[in-house]
């Protein structure tokens, strides 16, 4: 048996979340007393492949000629690699591709699936994995009862560890089926940091009174190297684009630092951000529920506090 990690390349390189999954795989393999293999595909340079070895994979199975957005083909690819290395535990990141591939693989292999795991599995009295449920308002301990298991790892749950190892690369051949999904166009937003991957996020709500006042939020975000976000009402009335809406029905995020400016902290908003490691709340209302979920709070008017904070940050950065 072995542990297999699906390493999905993003434009030829591996994102931090892919390296986290590789580290996670290496730790699971170590706990089970076996090896960690990785499977990848497409045009990926040797230098990128070496990162998988450095993060704990001993063998990398690579289907270099496969380029596809079709999760059906990817699940066949991973199943082929799993058969080649006799994998009982298959892991991936709980990102866009992982969310499509992991359930397909689970159904294909009749392997019990836990999505969005936030910690290493335990094997004392059954194979158990923890994950956030109820949009982060609680956690569940899931038991996988099948012989084969699939787990997707919530990004930003464990830090990637470069152990300095090297992986042997094996070309993977097989029939991965017909491509049923094609990419017609990819549109990039320029100059902004992608919200789900952001380590720091500056978010603002109705307290800002209008879309014309977001300049100071964007300035603070760019100074911090943070992504910008907003509350649901702000997205619904069209002050900010929908992809910036964080909360239970928008994007759930878990950055290291989250600034909530002029957001009262409705339970649905908190559900989407309470995985954040450090929360700073700036609000005029000392009774705003968000202060209960915050690590640091400033009771004050955003229009005065935010420019002062920006000045203080500039002074700090010298």
């Amino acid at each position: 048996m072995s542990v297999l990690v699906f390493s999905n390349p993003n434009e030829g390189s591996f994102a931090k979340s892919a390296l986290e999954a590789c580290t996670y795989g290496a730790k699971v393999a170590k706990a089970l007393g076996t090896d960690c293999h990785a499977v990848t595909y497409g045009q990926v340079s040797d230098a990128e492949i070496a990162k998988l070895g450095a993060h704990g994979a001993t063998v990398v199975h690579k289907a270099g000629s496969l380029e596809t957005p079709d999760s059906g083909q990817l699940s066949k690819l991973i199943a082929t690699a799993a058969a080649a290395c006799n994998a009982d535990v298959i892991l991936c990141s709980h990102d866009l591709t992982g969310k499509a591939v992991a359930p397909r693989l689970s159904a294909r292999l009749k392997a019990g699936l836990v999505t969005g795991a936030n910690a290493l599995p335990t094997t004392d009295g059954g194979f158990k994995v923890n994950k956030p449920v109820f949009s982060g308002k609680a956690f569940a301990t899931e038991v996988i009862t099948s012989a084969k298991k699939v787990i997707s790892l919530m990004p930003n749950s464990i830090p990637p560890e470069n152990t300095g190892g090297t992986a042997q690369v094996q070309e993977l051949a097989g029939d991965f089926g017909a491509k049923k999904v094609t990419v017609k166009e990819t549109k990039k937003r320029t100059g902004t940091i992608s919200l789900p991957d952001a380590e720091k996020v500056v978010s603002a709500g109705r307290g800002l009174k209008g879309p014309e006042n977001w300049g100071m939020i964007e300035e603070l975000a760019s100074l911090l190297g943070a992504a910008t976000a907003c509350s649901r009402p702000v997205a619904d009335i069209g002050w900010r684009p929908h992809h910036e809406h964080v909360g239970q029905t928008g994007v759930a995020i878990r950055p290291n630092l989250y600034f909530a400016i002029g957001i009262s902290g409705a339970i649905q908003h908190l559900a989407g951000v309470n995985g954040s490691k450090v929360i700073v709340v700036i609000n005029t209302d000392p009774e705003a529920p968000f202060f209960k979920a915050a690590d640091y709070g400033v009771v004050g008017d955003a229009f005065q506090v935010v420019p002062k904070l920006t000045e203080a940050l500039k002074a700090f950065k010298g």
């Binding site: 689970s106 899931e142 004050g300």
Partner: protein, 246 residues
């Protein structure tokens, strides 16, 4: 156009989460249940819009006991033509997906739509599993869906942008924000829903592959540290030295 929309019953978004029986069961006392918002606001409404623009039918499917009938009636009031309930307590995602795939396999649906995840278990599992079981393409987290000439054009948010995908033939799609706007059922819809078919079908035998052993509530925050609004240098210092966040 024959459309199947999967609906899940979940606690209302304002629910205070609590557990009973030694933290092994969700406490349903005084909980208001609703249709999973992603299933209702985005998948169901987009299905109805496509039907209205192209003719066809929208059927909903739910795996659950009779206690799910009220939320199914609401979907009928919003505009679904008929509903199917697979009569089985919802177990793990695999067994739920298996029930849906067994029902759909010989019905030639043009598309199977559902929300990107449920707001209770946050699994994002059912769509991909149903797609694999039926050997159909699966598009996850789609924010736009249009049909023309037997082809579906689908937009998805990707890290730092959007991607436009094309699929020919039948497919499974999970819907995210942007796909459609919530519809409030009107009195005529509510009256009509009473006489629309809600077909209860026995479940097929399937073994679940996972089970929930216990739940935990997150540890309470230590309490907020308030900083003087005139002393933002202190906040920067705390974030740097104490929280090590900048």
């Amino acid at each position: 156009m024959k459309i199947l929309v999967c609906l899940s019953k979940v606690p209302d978004t304002t629910t205070r989460i609590a557990f009973i029986d030694n933290n092994t069961k969700f406490d349903e006392k005084d909980v208001q249940f609703i249709i999973n918002p992603y299933d209702e606001w985005y998948a169901l409404v987009r299905g109805l819009e496509l039907k209205e623009a192209n003719t066809g039918t929208v059927t909903t499917i739910t795996v659950g006991g009779a206690d799910t009938d009220p939320i199914i009636r609401k979907a009928l009031a919003i505009g679904a033509d008929d509903a199917v309930r697979i009569d089985s307590p919802a177990s793990d995602a695999y067994s739920t997906a298996f029930q849906i795939a067994e029902y759909a396999k010989d019905k030639a649906f043009d598309m199977i739509l559902l929300g990107k995840e449920t707001i209770d278990y946050n699994g994002s599992q059912i769509g991909g599993m149903v797609a694999e079981m039926l050997d159909l393409p699966f598009i996850s987290l789609a924010s736009k869906l249009d049909i023309a000439g037997g082809k579906a054009t689908i937009e998805c948010d990707i890290p730092g942008g959007t991607q436009v995908l094309e699929v020919e033939g039948a497919f499974v799609l999970s819907a995210a924000k942007g796909m459609a706007e919530q519809r409030i059922p009107n009195m005529r819809g509510i009256m009509a829903a009473r006489s629309k078919p809600l077909n209860v079908i026995p479940a097929v035998a399937v073994e679940p592959l996972t089970k929930t052993e216990s739940y935990q509530l997150p540890p309470a925050k230590a309490g907020v540290k308030l900083v003087d609004p005139d002393n933002m240098a202190e906040l920067v210092r705390l974030l740097h030295e104490e929280a090590k966040a900048i």
